[in-house]
């Protein structure tokens, strides 16, 4: 014990007179480990604490405070009481000691053992003895932290202080300037307001002392270590100002005043603060200020130059309206909401009668914002506005005016989340149903495309609301839509009609089944598309074909419901059947359109089980048997059915694969078994019309006939898109035959499809010896063929190699590096080099029909990045080692890879790649130039810092390319130069004169598209470093 106390005295001595700061930690450790108590420390400090030298006293208090900061949690109540009394007393001491005293008090305020009454006495002495704003930054922060700690733990006691607490805080914070402390001060003010401290006569003082910062304009210094943003301060202050309705009488005039400001940020902040008030305030607080608030909001929307201000103003209006909607009606006073909306309607409604003038839109937006605030407000606004608008529509004759009016109506039709009628309450539109429908149907009957499009959108919105449209209305609407599908050839109208029909058919299937589908079917099978001998007859024929295709697409878009799918899919199947039989004749384009419509249908169905069954049971077997019939018939007779054409088969693939990907496990297993039996054994028993002759040998490559072997693409569609849970039966035999077909067939479509199918299967196959065995065997064969320079089947082997590499790369299979290395080595191959470069495009991009995520393929995330990280150095080495005439192949491969990387990776890798990309820009191959430019342009839009070192090289190459003989290169170059104008001004300003001089030449380019880009780029470059520019 004695030893301890001498040690303690030594410690104190060393700290106080020896100025050794580290001793504080030792002392704290001593107290924490129980070697001595805090009171013993005070005793040991005795002399220094009572010294007449203020510096010594300061050191003494500093030591005590530092120890307290470490061990405040272990103090007893008695000790705390003594220490608090001591510290309170010390506040009266010399100003140099105050910082240490405050640190000690801050530690004590965190004590859980703080005795009753201490909190109040600490605060009283603080407020009495300390001039907070004359302290330094860190000490002020101490004071705020003391307040925060005490508010957390001693709320009741502080509330007992009454308004004195608020007054003390107001005095303490008045004049604070540091953003870090302001955040603390706002937190305290927020606590005062939200936790119910008594404000009484100091309400205005508290408001003044916080609102003087409004609106906050703060730009953090560069490299700010504290990371305080303007946004943080704004939100903290807003929480204070909008926290209580008692501030309303002060805040609302302030907001109105700040809305007059020229600063856009001040306006936006004021409007957002107003919107934040609305949920807290009631009618009482707002009523006095409503007219001025409204006129400010109206002014901002009517005259705004900025979308931000406009949006904020509309949100504020909506918030105000919804606040007033909550006001309880009492019998003798006027309805607050009605009164306010009358104001709004009076100022805005008459502008809606002038659809040509500018203010029609701002007025409509204001009214729509007010209407969207609540059910009641939408009721009032719709009742006032809609009849007027509809009447206007009927009295105007110009299409442009009618369109504007209808677009305005559209804004009132769609209820917002807040104005959606509650269960059991009817839609606000019900009283206007009849006149609305008559306007809509007349608009649909107009010949103006814009009007038709708007009308379909309104119709869609109307149809979404339950109970608005009656059955006859929907029927009339369906008739109009049908007519538009049949007659309107404008692409945008067709799109809008398809969307509208799709949306309505989900809610009202019967009229579509009974009216739209039969009419479209009649049209599709009307007279065959005759190919005229002379041009005159050909044109209407083309129009008819376009119409038939529109009908098929429309059929697909209305088939999201099983009942409709079962009506419309047979029509499309019948198209394929007729095309195969040759009567009535359908062109290949029409057949492809039927296929893509079927695919749309399958994609829309998603997980719908009923439609899945339908596809499994009816559509897929039908498609397979048609293709099979066509193939067999093509072998025998000379004339070929359109279903043997490669384009048609390629269109069938997505239909089957989309449908198969969505099948449930049980159906999928059955599908796999059926498909494998058909292709391996020629067993067609699951197809409806299975009277085929016995010699179906789909996977055998026959030298002169490929009609059967090309059907392997359909096998791929069936088995490569099934879910993971499904095992494909007899997979080894299947893989063997696919390998054989892909290596020996001479028909490109057949061997490519076989390679794809092979790849799709090995991508999903479970890892293990079986898989590795197959892979090694195939790889040996490919190697052998490729090594034999004279072999006729090198291209086939190469194709299989590419697809296999992709399948394995996607699943991170260890063998994939062997395959990709082989591809790299082929870049120097005499005949295959260019194709090998293109294979990298295949590896890096998503292929549409196989090995993608929608086919349930095993695709690891970020495989592209990984591939790039592992292989970019090989490319660079290969490039450096290659013969000059061979270098472009490497650049081509590189640009394929880089183009497909995600942007973040591109940006990260740019520093290392830039030299090579610059090299590629000066490479003579135009394809390489173009692909490099396309890769650079998006990167330049958000340029990485690494670029600035290379600007000179980049500019000289780009500016040289503006005179390229290829127009596409010129265009892409100019886009890059345009993008470069966004770089920080100081980096590009030195190039301005040069760029402007060079860009003057393409202004006179012979191609208009080049001139257009040159004008855009040069215009932006003129603005750099010029007043009013960026």
């Amino acid at each position: 014990m004695a030893a301890d106390s001498t040690r303690l005295v030594d410690l104190v001595e060393e700290f106080v007179t020896g100025q050794t700061d580290s001793k504080a930690t030792d002392a704290a450790n001593g107290v924490n480990s129980g070697q001595f108590t805090i009171l013993q420390l005070v005793e040991a400090l005795g002399l220094s604490l009572t010294s007449s030298e203020s510096q010594t006293r300061g050191r003494g208090v500093q030591l005590l405070s530092q120890v307290l900061e470490e061990c405040y949690s272990s103090l007893s109540e008695k000790e705390v009481e003594v220490l608090v009394a001591f510290y309170e007393n010390r506040l009266k001491d010399h100003y140099a000691i105050t910082p240490h005293v405050l640190r000690g008090l801050k530690a004590l305020a965190k004590c859980t053992m703080l005795p009753k009454g201490s909190a109040v006495s600490i605060l009283k002495s603080l407020f009495q003895d300390v001039q907070v704003q004359s302290l330094m930054l860190a000490e002020r922060s101490c004071v705020y932290n003391i307040l925060i700690s005490l508010m957390e733990s001693r709320e009741e006691e502080l509330k007992g202080l009454g308004p004195d607490f608020v007054f003390g805080f107001v005095q303490a914070v008045d004049g604070e300037r540091d953003p870090r402390n302001l955040l603390l001060a706002f937190q305290i003010a927020g606590n005062i307001i939200h936790r119910g401290y008594s404000l009484s006569q100091f309400t205005e003082e508290l408001f003044e002392v916080t609102s003087c910062y409004f609106p906050i304009d703060f730009t953090p210094p560069p490299n700010d270590p504290h990371g305080i943003t303007q946004e943080e301060l704004i939100l903290a202050l807003r929480a204070v100002l909008t926290g209580t309705p008692r501030f309303a009488e002060f805040l609302l005039p302030l907001i109105i005043e700040k809305l007059d400001s020229d600063m856009q940020n001040a306006k936006v902040d004021s409007l957002q603060t107003l919107a934040a008030c609305a949920p807290v305030y009631g009618h009482k607080e707002l009523s006095e200020f409503l007219p001025s608030l409204w006129s400010s909001i109206r002014r901002e929307v009517f005259q705004t130059a900025s979308e931000r201000v406009e949006l904020a103003a509309l949100a504020a209006l909506s918030a105000l309206t919804s606040c007033l909607s909550r006001a309880v009606l009492d019998s003798n006073s006027q309805d607050a909401l009605q009164g306010f909306l009358d104001l709004v309607l009076k100022d805005c409604q008459h502008h809606l009668c002038e659809p040509d003038l500018k203010l029609v839109w701002p007025s409509a937006k204001l009214l729509q914002a007010a209407a969207g605030a609540s059910y009641r407000s939408s009721l009032i606004v719709s009742a006032a506005v809609l009849p007027n608008l509809l009447e206007q529509y009927n009295s105007r004759t110009q299409c442009a005016q009618r369109r504007t009016l209808l677009e305005v109506v559209q804004g009132f039709i769609q209820p917002t989340a807040r104005s959606w009628p509650v269960e059991g309450v009817e839609s606000v539109l019900l009283p206007f149903r009849k006149s609305l429908c008559s306007v809509l149907f007349s608009a649909l009957a107009e010949s103006n495309a814009g009007l038709q499009i708007t009308a379909t959108k309104v119709l869609t919105a109307l149809g979404q609301q339950p109970g608005v449209l009656t059955e006859p209305d929907v029927e009339t609407a369906v008739d109009h839509l049908t007519r538009l599908v049949l007659e309107e050839d404008d692409a945008q109208v067709s799109l809008a009609v398809a969307e509208c029909a799709g949306a309505l058919s989900r809610l009202h299937p019967p009229p579509f089944a009974s009216r739209l589908v039969p009419k479209l079917k009649d049209k599709i099978f009307s007279e065959p598309t005759v190919r005229g001998n002379d041009g005159a007859a050909l044109l209407p024929g083309l129009g008819k074909s376009a119409c038939k295709q529109r009908c098929m697409k429309a059929l697909a878009s209305v088939s999201a419901r099983p009942s409709l799918a079962q009506e419309s899919a047979p029509v499309l199947l019948q198209v394929l059947t007729s095309a195969h039989k040759g009567s009535p004749v359908f062109s290949a384009e029409e057949v492809i359109c039927a296929c893509s419509s079927l695919q749309t249908m399958a994609a829309q169905a998603g997980d719908d089980e009923e439609i899945g069954h339908f596809f499994h049971d009816v559509i897929i077997p039908r498609l397979l048997s048609l293709a099979l019939q066509a193939a067999l018939q093509g072998e025998v007779s000379g004339d070929r059915s359109p279903l043997t054409e490669q384009t048609v088969l390629s269109a069938l693939v997505p239909v089957i694969s989309t449908a198969c990907a969505a099948l449930q496990t049980e159906l999928a297993t059955q599908m796999a078994a059926n498909a494998v039996r058909l292709f391996l054994d020629g067993d067609a028993s699951f197809l409806q019309e299975n009277d085929y002759r016995s010699q179906i040998q789909l996977l055998k490559s026959q030298s002169e006939s490929w009609t059967q072997s090309q059907l392997v693409c359909l096998l791929m569609a069936c088995v490569c898109s099934l879910p993971h849970s499904v095992d494909v039966p007899e997979i080894d035999r299947l893989l063997g035959q696919l390998e054989e077909l892909s290596c020996t067939s001479t028909h490109p479509f057949s061997y490519t499809s076989a390679a794809k199918c092979f790849a799709g299967l090995i991508n999903k196959r479970a890892p293990g010896q079986n898989l590795d065995g197959v892979l090694e065997k195939t790889l040996r064969r490919i190697q052998g063929t490729l090594d034999d320079q004279s072999s006729a089947q090198r291209v086939q082997a190469f194709t299989l190699l590419g697809w296999m590499a992709k399948a394995l790369l996607l699943r991170y299979h260890p063998l994939s590096t062997v395959l990709t290395d082989k591809l790299f080595s082929l870049l120097s191959d005499r005949r295959l080099a260019s194709q090998a470069a293109d294979t990298f495009l295949l590896l890096m991009s998503d292929s549409p029909d196989v090995l993608n995520r929608s086919c349930h393929a095993d695709v690891r995330i970020m495989y592209r990045q990984r591939f790039f990280a592992e292989n970019s150095s090989k490319l660079v080495q290969g490039f450096n080692a290659a013969e000059p005439e061979n270098k472009s192949v490497y650049l081509k491969a590189l640009s394929h890879i880089v183009n497909n990387l995600p942007r973040q990776v591109q940006l990260a890798e740019l520093p290392s790649l830039l030299p090579l990309l610059l090299e590629a820009l000066s490479c003579a191959d135009q394809a390489v130039q173009l692909s490099t430019l396309c890769c650079l342009q998006p990167v330049l839009l958000d340029p990485p810092p690494a670029l600035s070192a290379q600007l000179e090289a980049l500019f000289s190459r780009l500016l040289a390319l503006t005179a390229s003989p290829s127009m596409e290169v010129r265009i892409a170059t100019l886009r890059c130069v345009h993008a470069l104008s966004r770089l920080p001004e100081h980096t590009v300003l030195p190039f301005r004169a040069r760029v402007l001089r060079v860009l003057a030449l393409p202004l006179d380019d012979r191609k208009r598209l080049v001139r257009k880009e040159a004008v855009a780029a040069r215009g932006e470059w003129f603005l750099i470093g010029s007043p009013g520019g960026r």
Binding site: F302, Q303, T304, A305, S306, H351, E354, D356, L357, K358, L359, V360, A400, S966, M967, A1000, L1003, D1004, R1006, K1007, R1008, L1009, R1011, K1012, V1015, A1016, R1018, G1019, E1020, F1022, L1023, S1026, P1027, G1028, G1029, R1030
Partner: protein, 159 residues
């Protein structure tokens, strides 16, 4: 905006914008030369912002395609513009913006003439004279405040 809080014409007539020029096959054909035509000049100036409203000159009908004439062979361009009201104090500024836009966007060989449509402005002659005077146009662009306003009119609106 810096000049005058009140707009001279707060609720002007709005006209529809023409769509993008449709792309023709010959424009994409490397071997065909496309001459500079009226529409191309109109496309250059139609998207210039009005100094007062957040609207383009086309939407305010200040410029129209029929009032744009170009002769590619003789390298001349003539643009007439129509202020929204006869006393519009912005007329000179609008004319200057059009002129500057054309100077920046056309090959140097062109002679550019910008003037007010006859009979649509109170001080038509004075404005036309100003716009035709090369020295005065150059001097105006030396004035950084004026240049700032012109640049704002010419900057593409953030989408």
């Amino acid at each position: 905006m810096s000049w005058g809080a009140r707009l001279e014409n707060a609720n002007p007539l709005i006209f529809q914008r023409t769509g993008e020029r449709p792309l023709t096959a010959s424009e994409e054909d490397e071997n065909v030369a496309d001459p500079i035509d009226d529409r191309e000049i109109f496309d250059l100036i139609r998207s210039i912002n009005d100094p007062e409203h957040p609207l383009s000159l086309e939407e305010l009908n200040v410029v129209e395609q029929v009032r744009v004439k170009v002769n590619d062979e003789e390298s001349t361009v003539s643009v007439e513009f129509t202020p929204t009201i006869p006393h519009c104090s912005m007329a000179t500024l609008i004319g200057l913006s059009i002129k500057v836009k054309l100077l920046r966007s056309l090959p140097a060989r062109f002679k550019i003439d910008v003037h007010i449509s006859p009979g649509t402005h109170a001080s038509e002659d004075a404005v036309n004279k100003q716009l035709a005077d090369k020295e005065r146009v150059a001097a105006a662009l030396e004035n950084s405040q004026l240049l700032e306003v012109v640049n704002q009119c010419l900057s593409t609106r953030p989408a």
